[in-house]
């Protein structure tokens, strides 16, 4: 990759249209409010222009903004942009030619933008009189020249969805009819002509394939799969067009793209269709009314990529290149040559849309398995025989390996290396990441190399909606701990076409092979929520539990609930209902002898929110471990932590009676429905990023009043004494003591997460992804709500730092150095076999993986530890002591002789 330019994450980064020139391209973004030019050679942003608007507050966000961008065909260096009521023109050199604001009327909506050699024409719909008002503005200075109006039968929404513009034509589909409305281009000629094309069934889509001042090609797609292509030719010295159909036999799923080249006589038309793992192309030249010189190509794809989503065909220096975006997010570039088609580029762009991540431990090596087996027995005699037999087999395999080394040498080294990559290392540092992307492609990625081990594409995939994000449940059905059984992972997703249908796919995370016994597409109920059972059922497999829309709980595969859930510990289930804005808690009672596979849920509590809208729910990581029950204070007494594992964080947003926006944070106990903490922040903007771990919560938000990012940290304590040291119940009458502090962050926040270690002994670090591409590791001590305002010796004894509102970040704590990663949406942390080490995987537009050591490396030798010096000096000391002994005895003897 030569260069890359990452645009803003806000609306200004949303690209409306790209206009391609020879050396650079002009990119219009932010609903027609920004224009910038990028040079192809080096990716340099040559210029940037912002639209001059005076009435920004008048109708922000309430009306869906609408933007049209066209390149003037008669003057290719000029671009006209219509953004709601703003009309402006820029030249490709970065000069703003003019900008005018079209008077606003509530009934008038600006819809169409056309251009001629002299005028820029805006078509506005007057919804009162059902007339399309056509206003002509001078191309040179934007002065309004004249206007006319014509009857219009569509409403505003239909006009936007069903109409397109081309030169001085407006094309609108009306069921089975395509209306072609010719807008006159000069003052003398005021005739509006309308002509029609009939289609066999309802028209679904009109696409303009090619557009020039004299010739255009459009595609009309009907909902019965029929596709027709029409060619438009301009009549001499008028503003009218002739059209004729091009007879191409097309498949229903094929895509069309047209390329022109100066060397070619006409245009070349490319038809592409995907068929399983094969792409078929047909290239023809357009000749007046017929197609000639048809050639066919086909190329085998390395994997199933679904349908074509986007196709572009271009001829660059006599090389025919086809660029495709497939349904699975793959970017393909295919070169068509005389000797056939060739795939020259394949990138898995789906990796930039990861929505769920899970990590699996790698499998044990054969020797590690044997050790597990060796110490596996119970009886004294069986243990003894096991040890002897396994040690004999180890000896045999050792000799076999020696023999193999002598006879084969290094011949199968590559194969062995590949096998070794899949075997767990000594400290379990290397794992396999299973990532699910929003397009339905699942990847298995090895952490030590970042290499993709396998990929699976599920074509009918649709994720679940999760407030403003999407979400796919991904579960460990069977972990890698059971070395006799391969691990299993499950994903649950909706059907793309019928959103109430739920699919379950279970696969082996090492190979991606589907486990067909645990894969289904038909659940007889509508799923409201899915979660994993607490207990393994058959062959160490956990089962999935589904809550359906009738508040009934089901198991998949069907097993009695009494086996899937603990019968001694009661289970509570909470669900958030978005339409009611309420959390509802349910109690699940299971009798030990009950063989029912589904049962009804009993509602036990309900928390509903009024005048505020829940925008996010955050749960703690399932791997969260709390090692110490309390904090040792300076006077050596203990402050016990309130570590309630049933807490969830709820973020709500609203506007109070003074029209001040606010954000509320609650900690909700999901067993009792009681609120343990509530914070209100006024004049604060979401997104709120939350970390909930142990007995504390850290969250960040944007403060609108001071225009800065802030973090609030709160800890919950039981106090000087513990209510019950052996068990914890949410029903215990504990009123947690809350301590809070707010801090100012030096950067904005894209995502936030806390490090995870195996036992939770290591101190915690907060990993923060910033908009400028950094991943910062901040010790939690800096966020400690107990940081005192003035430091007493007692606090110093405890190791507290004096409170300063600013969190200072030095550049050493940037864990990705200069490998900046942008638009990070989530961070995943996993524990390793070493207590000091936590794995960090950040995903978004870019992916980043590293290991962090929050308490430094306390359980391993440093990298620069010199084994040679230690080894040789030990040997030297041993030898030296023997030599010295000898010399000493000689010396003694000599002395005795004196």
């Amino acid at each position: 990759m030569r260069w890359r330019k990452v645009f803003e994450t806000n609306e200004y980064g949303k690209i409306d249209r790209i206009i391609w020139y020879d050396q650079e391209s002009v990119i219009i973004s932010g609903q027609g409010r920004r224009a910038r030019s990028l040079r192809y050679a080096d990716g340099l942003e040559v210029w940037q222009l912002a639209a001059t608007t005076t009435n920004t507050n008048s109708n922000q966000d309430t009306v869906a903004k609408h933007c049209q961008v066209i390149k003037n065909r008669y003057d290719p260096g000029t671009i006209h942009i219509l953004s709601d009521d703003l009309l402006w023109s820029v030249s490709s050199y970065g000069e703003m030619l003019w900008s005018i604001e079209i008077p606003i009327k509530s009934t008038l909506k600006n819809l169409f933008l056309l251009s001629t050699s002299q005028y820029v024409i805006v078509g506005s719909l007057d919804s009162n009189s059902n007339q399309l008002q056509v206003t002509y503005y001078s191309k040179q200075d934007g002065q309004q020249a004249f206007s006319s109006s014509l009857p219009w039968s569509f409403n505003a929404k239909d006009s936007l969805n069903k109409c397109s513009t081309m030169n001085n034509l407006i094309l609108c589909s009306n069921n089975e009819e395509l209306s072609i409305i010719t807008i006159p281009t000069t003052t003398d000629d005021t005739n509006v002509k309308t002509r029609h094309i009939k289609a066999s069934s309802k028209i679904e889509q009109i696409r303009i394939l090619y557009e020039s001042t004299t010739r255009s090609v459009i595609l009309i797609k009907s909902d019965n799969g029929e596709t027709k292509i029409y060619q438009f030719n301009k009549k001499e010295s008028t503003s009218e067009w002739d059209f004729n159909e091009l007879n191409i036999q097309m498949k229903s799923n094929s895509f069309i793209s047209i390329a022109t080249d100066k060397n070619l006589a006409g245009q070349q038309i490319l038809e592409a269709s995907a068929n399983d793992q094969k792409l078929n192309f047909h290239v023809s030249t357009i000749n007046e009314q017929t197609l000639t010189n048809t050639r066919s190509y086909s190329v085998e794809l390395p994997e199933n990529m679904g349908e074509i989503e986007y196709l572009a065909y271009s001829v660059v220096k006599n090389t025919q290149l086809v660029t495709l975006r497939m349904q699975d997010g793959s970017l393909l570039v295919i070169k068509l040559a005389d000797n056939g088609a060739e795939l020259i580029l394949h990138r898995d762009e789906a990796l930039s849309s990861i929505i769920s991540v899970e990590t699996f431990d790698l499998s044990l090596s054969i020797t590690q398995m044997r050790i597990e087996e060796e110490f596996g027995g119970t009886g004294m005699f069986s243990m003894f025989t096991k040890r002897i037999s396994s040690q004999v087999s180890q000896l045999i395999s050792f000799f076999l390996r020696l023999l193999d080394l002598f006879t084969h040498g290094n011949r199968n080294r590559d194969y062995l290396d590949k096998q070794a990559a899949l075997v767990r290392d000594e400290f379990n540092l290397n794992k396999i990441l299973i990532v699910v992307t929003s397009v339905g492609k699942v990847f298995g990625i090895l952490t030590q190399s970042g290499g993709i081990l396998w990929k699976n594409f599920f074509p009918n995939f649709a994720p679940f909606e999760h407030f403003n994000a999407v979400h796919v449940p991904l579960f460990h059905i069977r972990s890698a701990a059971h070395y006799t059984h391969e691990p299993l992972a499950s994903i649950v997703y909706r059907d793309r076409n019928s959103l109430h249908d739920t699919h379950i796919r279970t696969f082996n995370p090492y190979t991606g092979d589907l486990e067909n016994n645990l894969t289904t597409s038909s659940l007889p109920y509508h799923v409201k929520r899915v979660f994993l059972s607490t207990q393994a059922v058959d062959e160490f497999c956990k089962v999935l539990l589904f809550v359906d829309t009738n508040n009934k709980i089901h198991t998949y595969p069907s097993v009695p609930l009494s086996r899937a859930l603990s019968t001694t510990i009661p289970t509570y289930i909470y669900l958030f209902d978005k339409s009611e804005q309420a959390f509802v808690g349910y109690y699940l009672s299971i009798d030990e002898n009950d063989q029912k596979t589904s049962t009804n849920l009993k509602e036990v509590w309900r928390v509903s929110f009024q005048n505020e809208e829940v925008i996010n729910i955050h749960t703690r990581l399932s791997s969260d471990r709390v090692h110490s029950a309390g904090i040792v204070l300076g006077d050596r007494s203990v402050l016990y932590k309130y570590t309630n594992p049933n807490l969830i964080a709820v973020v709500t947003e609203g506007i109070d009676y003074q029209k001040v926006p606010f954000v509320n944070i609650y900690l909700l106990d999901t067993v009792t429905g009681s609120v343990k903490l509530s914070h209100t922040h006024k004049r604060v903007k979401s997104p709120v990023h939350i970390v909930l771990s142990e007995n504390w919560i850290v969250y960040t938000y944007y403060n609108q009043r001071y225009r800065r990012y802030e973090a609030v940290s709160s800890s919950l304590f039981e106090g000087e004494a513990q209510y019950n040291y052996s068990t914890f119940s949410s029903f215990d009458p504990i009123e947690p003591v809350i301590q809070s502090k707010a801090y100012i962050l030096p950067y904005g926040v894209n995502a936030i997460q806390v490090t995870t270690t195996e036992k939770g002994i290591t101190s915690r670090d907060i990993i923060m992804a910033t908009p400028n591409g950094m991943l910062i590791e901040i010790p939690w001590i800096l966020f400690d709500p107990r940081r005192p305002l003035d430091l007493t010796p007692m606090d110093r004894e405890e190791g507290l730092i004096m409170y300063t509102p600013e969190i200072m970040v030095n550049f050493e704590s940037v864990i990705n150095y200069y490998k900046y990663v942008y638009n990070i949406r989530g961070i995943h942390t996993v524990a390793t076999g070493l207590e000091s080490t936590s794995i960090v995987f950040a995903y978004g537009l870019d992916l980043f993986f590293t290991r962090v050591f929050p308490s430094r490396i306390f359980d391993q030798l440093k990298d620069d530890f010199d084994f040679m010096i230690i080894g040789w000096s030990t040997v030297a000391f041993v030898v030296g002591s023997f030599v010295a002994k000898r010399f000493a005895s000689i010396h003694q003897t000599k002395k005795a002789w004196k």
């Binding site: 978005k578 050596r636 049933n646 914890f728 119940s729």
Partner: protein, 201 residues
């Protein structure tokens, strides 16, 4: 070994202070002659051994022990004084150790840790060497109140141990607070399990 042999005394019934018999006995003379002959014939090692043998049985050496002839009443007084000296030895060292402990301070440094180790080591050593400390007295035949002496000696050592413990306490080394045991506390078991989240529909 060579030097120690010269100060030996031969038992003589009279009350003279000391005396050395310079005339070698017949046996001694024989060994000297044999050793000289061996030195002429053999190598150096044997010669050294012979030389040792000669020096071991040098002039004035006697195998027999000399009975102490101090008058009985005088001996008893001295013996009592010496035995109480031994018994009170640990107690007498206590002030010095206290000064040591005070000077070490309550902060953690190499010095203070060494002193704490020493404070523990010494009384334990003295307690274990209790019987050997009184061994000479027992040989002298003081049997009556030796138990009392041992008890005093033992208690004296215990005061040292108490001092060491006090030192540890003031340095915060003794696990007397809750906080010292918190690392060993088991995790609380959960009485409830929850699951859930937002509903999809």
């Amino acid at each position: 070994n060579i030097s120690s042999t010269t100060s030996s005394v031969r038992p003589v019934p009279s009350r003279r202070k000391w005396f050395v018999d310079l005339k070698p006995s017949k046996q001694e003379r024989l060994t000297i002659v044999a050793a000289a002959a061996a030195a002429n014939n053999n190598d150096g090692a044997v010669a050294t051994a012979a030389n040792d043998a000669v020096s071991l049985t040098s002039l004035g050496f006697s195998e027999q022990k000399v009975a102490d002839l101090i008058p009985q009443e005088d001996d008893d007084r001295l013996l009592a004084r010496r035995s109480w000296d031994i018994a009170l030895g640990p107690l007498k060292q206590l002030p010095m150790n206290m000064i040591f402990a005070w000077m070490a301070g309550n902060s953690f440094s190499l010095m203070s840790i060494m002193i704490v180790v020493m404070l523990f080591q010494k009384p334990i050593q003295t307690i274990f060497s209790l019987s050997s400390a009184f061994a000479s007295l027992e040989q002298e035949g003081v049997g009556g109140n030796i138990w009392l002496l041992k008890l005093v000696y033992f208690l004296g050592s215990l005061t040292h141990l108490a001092l060491a413990l006090y030192k540890c306490q003031s340095m915060g080394l003794l696990p007397t607070y809750n906080s010292d045991w918190i690392a060993f506390a088991d995790q609380q078991t959960q009485m409830e399990v929850t699951a859930g989240g937002f509903s999809y529909f």
